[in-house]
């Protein structure tokens, strides 16, 4: 890294060259206000807030006013932030911005974490002088996620720069003209983009605020937060969930330099409400109706385990490593089943093996963003791993960045680089079943069946490396496309292949690996998306597939069945699960939300959610990260691992850390998880880390209605965090940092003070630990599937795409997210539709060949869908279709 | 030869009892007077004019736990408050309340008083030592140094009176003042004696052994209940005793027209006590080094000068 010396207010600083002066100042921790600049969005120089005085040389005493965000740092440059003219300029400027700002702070959700409040105070403008008329705007309805309050706008343009330029949304524009500009949609309606929630953090004031948070609002200083990891997909984005009065109030982004950076997807941000769901399982239940006390439930659980046949345990990809391991310890390794469908497990095991021994680097999302040619095989990342989709969207910009570099333009000159993007785009190829949300930036899209997608991948690999096996019988168009993709990938400096479990085709994963392997000399990288938060971690525990458990029970070689945080009806055909649960001697289910499996439990134990318990998750790139309880679970709810530990007679494990250590010891591949976060004995200057901010209010009144004598603060023996305001305030490692706040910086922008370098890694290193690095050699996969041939009269049902809203089990219980979930329906090719004489919106009777299943669903015509395929969309009714095999279709009537 | 005239047992008992009663009542008097000077009302809830406040305080004190800290030297800890109470009470033996009222008539009465008031310092030292507490021992040390120092000037300052009256017998000293109170010829001696008396009784502003702001409560930090009460009453006994002696030595004792001698004595003593309280209510406490410097650098020379001057004048007058 090249460093240069600059002089700010007479003090010498050494900064990284190539950055803007504003970035340098923020890295140095100097208080220089800004609005329009954002580390991820670059500089446009619109708000005139970061004005400084720049001097020509040491002798110059006059200087000139310049915008720090638009000024590159140069060696020996001399500037002043504190100069009187610069301060006055900034003060007058913000006073002008404030002339139309309403007197809203007390009734504004942003109040207390408002960048505008911070900057106004920073610039010293504390008294309004303007007495004239204020401009007002009408608000719009923007869907269930965001509130709109346009009066508060200061026209910094950050929202549209994020929403349209960065996230690729097309329905939020700047409307109107001159000083009447309006940021909104052409008409009322939900914001369509999957990353709209970030507007609440991107907007420096309260124009866009979190609507779900507003429904049960608490000020930022009143939220008890703990460092956490999103459980709604396999990427492991870092989040800060906030609690007040025993309810989870909201989730905000927790910066992680390698994964989520500054942004979260809407599922991660708004899916949290399942924790507050009125349907939550809150008491132990017998046969799904009789509530019993926790102790009685515990005794009954023990009694069930003491049957003459061994108990079997079914783990879950959405449960933590600790929970799965506790189950495995309880029932024994030979009785532990992963709780995954065989096909999915095979895919995940392949991914696991490729990560460990494939010899191809798996990039973090930060590295993904730097790829300059991307091939997506069979995935729809915006739906299956949304934040990955956002990162992939940024990859097409890399050609423009390279061109800007050639022209001597710094990459943060946003407007200029965006202009270059019109001519210079890095190639992005998408091979998928249905249209994806990245098609608008893709160079070429290929729509085919999963088999054909895999075959294209194999063909690309063969084009890149003659040694790779070649699929037989490709047509000319496919050959040409494969050659084109191969050429683009070969030219790239950092080519990236994306695949995953999304299309349900193992061959697609294998093909993706072949391409990456062929690209190894060119620095090929390979990233897989996995469906659930701990899919990979569970796969590393060597559990057996679910079907074997079914066999055990059918053969009467198993007694009690313990199902932990898993709805088997999402994993296997309903008949098989019905039979399994029927035959099982006793069924114990430990989960947080009711589902079909829980409904059939003989003993149902209430499990804590991620917000109430600790756990370690392994994300799609093999990074182990730990989440911590935000608040103690309300009795008798307990972490699933606690129920399991308590059922063990002779275990050395009594605490969470023991469990983690035992798990790490049992599996060499998981040896690193102990270091994912500091253990419960960790202290900063002999102090625990407080979950509550220093200004946490109402402690002596919040429970006074129950009893005026205040109870002792809840104690946390399992982690290094405390349910208190007291404790360490600085020097907290990133894995334990609950929320970013620093005096004077109350908004999300406070993260500037916690980064080693703006937009880079957190000081002291990002949280979590990578369990894999590219090693081994790996062999070519040679089993190439045959091309898909539609059989007349029969359609193949493809697994329902994991839609960002509703595709995940837990988040569907969040009302706001459920509102955005797509309606149930099926997609059909126009030719097929013509054969069946159905039009879009009409209903179709779907029956499996064996007659076990029959559904009537509305149909939607999808022109790019391959013939002979039927894609089920919308949940939860469509899950059953996934197991149906070939189906017959018939026009039907609306039921 | 010791010339003693011991009073009747009833008189002795009456005098000692009233001394204790007066001392206890002083608690009320002091609070009332301080309130008057501070524009307050003072205790007025218990009994008429709050007079039963003393009784209330006594009851409270009696029923408090009689606590001896486990780290204390127990016998000494118990002994210490008894000493101050006993010595102060014994001091009243020589006070001539009226021509025919008194416990004992010693011809070395003044010396007896000086001796007893010196003895009381043992109480502070032992209390400080026995408490096994840093504040207490500091308080004890201060008490020792302060009492010993001021004892010197006190002794010297009254020698003028002894010269003028030619006797150590307090009754004869009173009789010697029929022609005029010794306050006039012995004004300097009176001043020195007054300051020394305040210091000896460890009253504010010279209450350095128990300076609350520095030493919690000095030598009696660890005391509570009746043992504390004995220190407390001991202090008021000291005030009463000092006042009585000041009246005897400088204000003509029981002498006075119209009224009965005993009343005169009580009246004068009362005014003197009130003055003690006024001083407490008005003056700030000096630093400890200031106290010692004032004693040795000002009071000692002043007392010596008084002694020499009185002697010279007495001799001169005698020669004429």
């Amino acid at each position: 890294m090249n460093t240069i010396d600059i002089d700010i207010d007479g003090l010498a600083y050494r900064v990284k060259s190539g950055v803007s002066l504003l970035t340098a100042c923020q890295t140095l921790g100097l208080d220089l206000p800004y609005f329009c600049w954002h580390p991820a969005l670059g500089s446009v120089g619109a708000c005139r807030q970061c004005a400084v005085i720049q001097y020509r040389d040491a002798a110059d005493s006059l200087g000139r006013l310049t915008m720090a965000c638009m000024t590159p740092v140069t060696d020996g440059m001399r500037v002043s932030i504190a100069a009187e003219q610069a301060q006055r300029f900034r003060g007058v400027n913000i006073e002008l911005l404030m002339t139309n700002h309403p007197h809203d702070c007390p009734v504004c959700e942003e109040g207390g974490e408002c960048h505008l409040q911070d900057m106004t105070l920073l610039s010293g403008h504390t008294r309004r002088r303007y007495r004239g008329l204020k401009r007002t705007h009408k608000n719009q309805y923007l869907g269930p996620f965001l509130n709109h309050e346009m009066n508060r706008c200061i026209a910094c343009y950050r929202c549209v720069r994020f929403y349209a330029d960065y996230a690729g949304g097309s329905d939020l524009q700047v409307l109107g003209m001159h000083h009447n500009v309006y940021f909104g949609r052409f008409e009322d309606g939900a914001l369509e983009n999957e990353f709209s929630g970030n507007l609440a953090e991107v907007c420096p004031t309260g124009v866009f605020t979190d609507k779900t948070f507003s429904a049960h609002y608490a000020r930022k200083w009143d939220l008890q937060t703990a460092p956490s990891v999103c459980v709604h997909c396999g990427l492991g984005c870092n989040i800060s969930p906030g609690e007040r009065y025993g309810r989870l109030r909201r989730v905000v982004n927790r910066y992680h330099g390698d994964i989520n950076g500054y942004f979260l997807c809407d599922r991660g941000r708004f899916g949290y409400d399942f924790v507050n769901s009125p349907e939550r399982i809150r008491t132990p239940r017998l046969d799904n109706h009789a509530e019993i006390a926790a102790d009685a439930a515990q005794q009954r659980f023990r009694a069930m385990l003491n049957g003459h046949l061994p108990a079997i345990g079914i783990g879950s990809p959405r449960a933590s490593l600790e929970t799965n391991f506790a189950l495995r310890s309880l029932v024994g390794a030979e009785n532990f089943y992963a709780g995954l469908d065989g096909g999915e497990q095979a895919m995940l095991e392949t991914i696991r093996d490729l990560l460990a021994d494939g010899g191809v680097h798996t990039p973090s999302l930060r590295e993904v963003e730097q790829a300059d040619a991307v091939l997506i095989l069979g995935e729809d990342p915006v739906n299956t791993a949304p934040r990955l989709g956002l990162a992939l969207r940024q990859t097409v910009r890399n050609a423009a960045f390279r061109r800007a570099g050639e022209l001597g333009l710094p990459p943060w000159r946003d407007a200029a680089v965006r202009e270059l993007e019109k001519q210079h785009r890095s190639p992005l190829f998408i091979a998928s079943i249905c249209p994806t949300r990245l098609d608008d930036v893709a160079g070429r899209c290929y729509r085919a069946s999963p088999q054909d997608i895999a075959r294209l991948g194999f063909a690309v690999a063969h084009c890149l490396d003659g040694q790779a096996p070649s699929p037989a019988g490709l047509d000319a168009a496919q050959q040409a496309l494969a050659a084109e993709i191969a050429a683009a990938l070969r030219q790239a400096a950092r080519p990236l292949i994306v695949s995953g479990t999304g299309c349900g085709e193992l061959a697609a994963i294998q093909a993706a690996y072949n391409v990456a392997r062929a690209l190894r000399p060119n620095g090929g990288q390979l990233v897989f998306s996995v469906p659930e938060s701990n899919s990979l971690g569970l796969t590393m525990m060597a559990g057996k597939p679910l079907q074997q458990a079914f066999r055990r029970v059918a053969e009467h070689t198993a007694g009690c069945v313990i199902i932990v945080e898993n709805d088997l009806y999402r994993r296997a055909p309903a008949q098989a699960v019905d039979a399994f649960l029927q035959q099982a001697a006793q069924v114990v289910v430990i989960d947080c939300l009711p589902h079909q499996t829980a409904a059939r439990a003989g003993l149902l134990l209430p499990a804590a959610t991620y917000a109430e318990s600790a756990g370690t998750l392994v994300n799609n790139e093999g990074r182990a990260q730990r989440y911590f309880p935000v608040y103690p679970p309300p009795e008798p709810v307990r972490g699933a691992w606690q129920w399991l530990l308590a059922a063990m007679d002779n275990s050395d494990c009594r605490h969470f850390d023991d469990l983690t250590a035992a798990c790490a010891q049992a599996f060499p591949a998981l040896a690193g998880i102990v270091a994912a976060a500091p253990d419960a004995a960790f202290r900063v200057d002999a102090m625990k880390i407080p979950r509550q901010p220093p200004r946490y209010s109402g402690r002596t009144a919040m429970l006074a209605d129950l009893k005026v004598s205040e109870p002792r603060q809840a104690q946390d023996a399992e982690t290094a965090l405390a349910f208190s305001m007291e404790g360490a305030s600085v020097g907290i490692p990133a894995a334990l940092q609950p929320v970013f706040w620093t005096p004077g910086w109350n908004s999300a922008q406070a993260v500037n003070r916690f980064q080693a370098e703006i937009g880079g890694h957190l000081s002291g290193g990002d949280g979590g630990i990578r369990l894999f690095e590219a090693a081994g050699e790996g062999a070519w996969f040679t089993q190439i599937p045959d091309a898909f041939r539609p059989e007349p009269g029969l359609w193949r049902v493809l697994p329902p795409p994991l839609h960002i809203f509703g595709g995940e089990e837990l988040s569907l219980h969040a009302p706001a997210l459920a509102e955005r979930a797509p309606p149930p329906g099926v997609l059909l090719n126009p030719a097929d539709a013509e054969t069946l004489a159905v039009a879009s919106g009409e209903w179709l009777v779907i029956a499996s060949a064996d007659g076990a299943l029959s559904r009537c669903l509305p149909v939607k015509i999808e022109p790019t869908l391959a013939c002979g395929l039927l894609v089920a969309a919308g949940l939860p009714d469509c899950i059953a279709l996934a197991w149906a095999g070939p189906v017959t279709l018939q026009k039907g009537d609306r039921p | 030869m010791i010339d003693t005239g011991i009073g009747s047992p009833a008189a002795i008992f009456g005098i000692l009892l009233s001394a204790i009663t007066v001392s206890a009542l002083l608690i009320w008097v002091e609070r009332k007077l301080l309130a008057v000077w501070q524009d307050r009302i003072g205790p007025n809830r218990v009994g008429p004019f709050g007079l039963l406040q003393v009784a209330a305080d006594m009851i409270k004190m009696f029923f408090k736990e009689d606590w001896i800290p486990p780290f204390a030297d127990k016998p000494v800890f118990v002994l210490a408050p008894v000493i101050v109470f006993a010595t102060m009470l014994s001091g009243f033996a020589v006070i001539p309340f009226a021509p025919d009222v008194g416990v004992v008539d010693l011809n070395f009465g003044l010396l007896y008083f000086l001796a007893l008031s010196s003895l009381s310092v043992y109480s502070m030292i032992l209390a400080g030592y026995a408490s096994n507490n840093k504040y207490a021992i500091l308080g004890g040390l201060r008490a020792a140094a302060q009492t010993i120092s001021y004892e010197v000037f006190m002794g010297i300052s009254v020698m003028g009176v002894v010269m003028l009256s030619g006797s150590f017998n307090l009754r004869q000293i009173v009789e010697a003042q029929r022609d005029g109170w010794f306050i006039a010829p012995q004004f300097l001696g009176f001043c020195v004696f007054l300051v020394a008396a305040i210091a000896e009784s460890r009253r504010a502003p010279l209450d350095l052994p128990e300076a609350e702001q520095e030493l919690v409560a000095g030598f009696h930090t660890e005391y509570s209940g009746m043992k504390f009460g004995m220190f407390f009453v001991g202090e008021y006994l000291g005030v009463t005793l000092s006042s009585a002696l000041i009246v005897t030595l400088f204000f003509g004792g029981w002498l006075g027209p119209w009224l009965p001698p005993l009343l005169w004595f009580c009246l004068k003593t009362g005014i003197c006590i009130a003055f003690f309280i006024l001083v407490r209510g008005s003056l700030p406490r000096p630093r400890y080094d200031q106290l010692m410097a004032f004693g040795w650098k000002i009071l000692l020379p002043a007392a010596l000068f008084n002694l020499l001057a009185t002697g010279a004048i007495a001799l001169t007058v005698a020669r004429i």
Binding site: P106, L133, H216, T700, V708 | D39
Partner: protein, 171 residues
């Protein structure tokens, strides 16, 4: 030395000065309207609750004895769903009143609130809310703020221009 005597004299002069003591409870002290006693929640001149549940009083409270929860009515007006003051903790410092941007929370000259049962010191909104405007008669926060509520649409607050028509082409 003379200053000591002067002090004695000055103190002595107070012998005949009348005592300032007020014989409470037989004799009630005269308290100014600004006296900091029992806390109330007031209403605006239109008779609506003034409190907008902004939480600033709770944040300012040095003993953290105020707890409340924001709620919103159909028209977008914020109000506290519950508002609780634990008077057994309150130190009557008045910081809440100073922090309140809507003049909702006010301290009154009533300090006689002893209870035998400490639980009775916990006041909920229904105990706190009074029917008047308290010390500030004319202020109505929503007349000044930009949020629209029932009976006051955008552009109808004090010093507000009518809402902008974003579709106009006029300069």
């Amino acid at each position: 030395m003379l200053s000591l005597l002067r002090t004695l004299w000055e103190v002595c002069k107070h012998t005949l000065v009348k005592a300032d003591t007020v014989q409470y409870p037989e004799q009630k002290p005269a308290l100014s309207p600004r006296y900091r006693g029992r806390i109330v929640l007031t209403r605006d001149p239109d008779g609506e609750e003034r409190c907008v549940a902004c939480n600033l009083c709770a944040a300012a409270c040095p003993v953290d004895c105020i707890a409340l929860q924001k709620a919103e009515d159909e028209s977008g007006r914020w109000y506290p769903a519950f508002f609780r003051i634990n008077f057994s903790r309150c130190i009557m410092c008045g910081f809440c009143e100073e922090a309140c941007p809507t003049y909702a929370i006010q301290l009154t000259p009533d300090f006689e609130m002893c209870e035998y049962d400490r639980q009775n010191m916990v006041y909920e909104k229904e105990h706190l809310l009074i029917d008047g405007t308290g010390k500030h008669h004319d202020y109505n926060f929503y007349r000044v703020a930009g949020m629209s509520i029932a009976g006051k649409d955008k552009g109808q607050a004090e010093n507000e221009a009518p809402p902008v028509d974003v579709k106009t082409l006029l300069p």
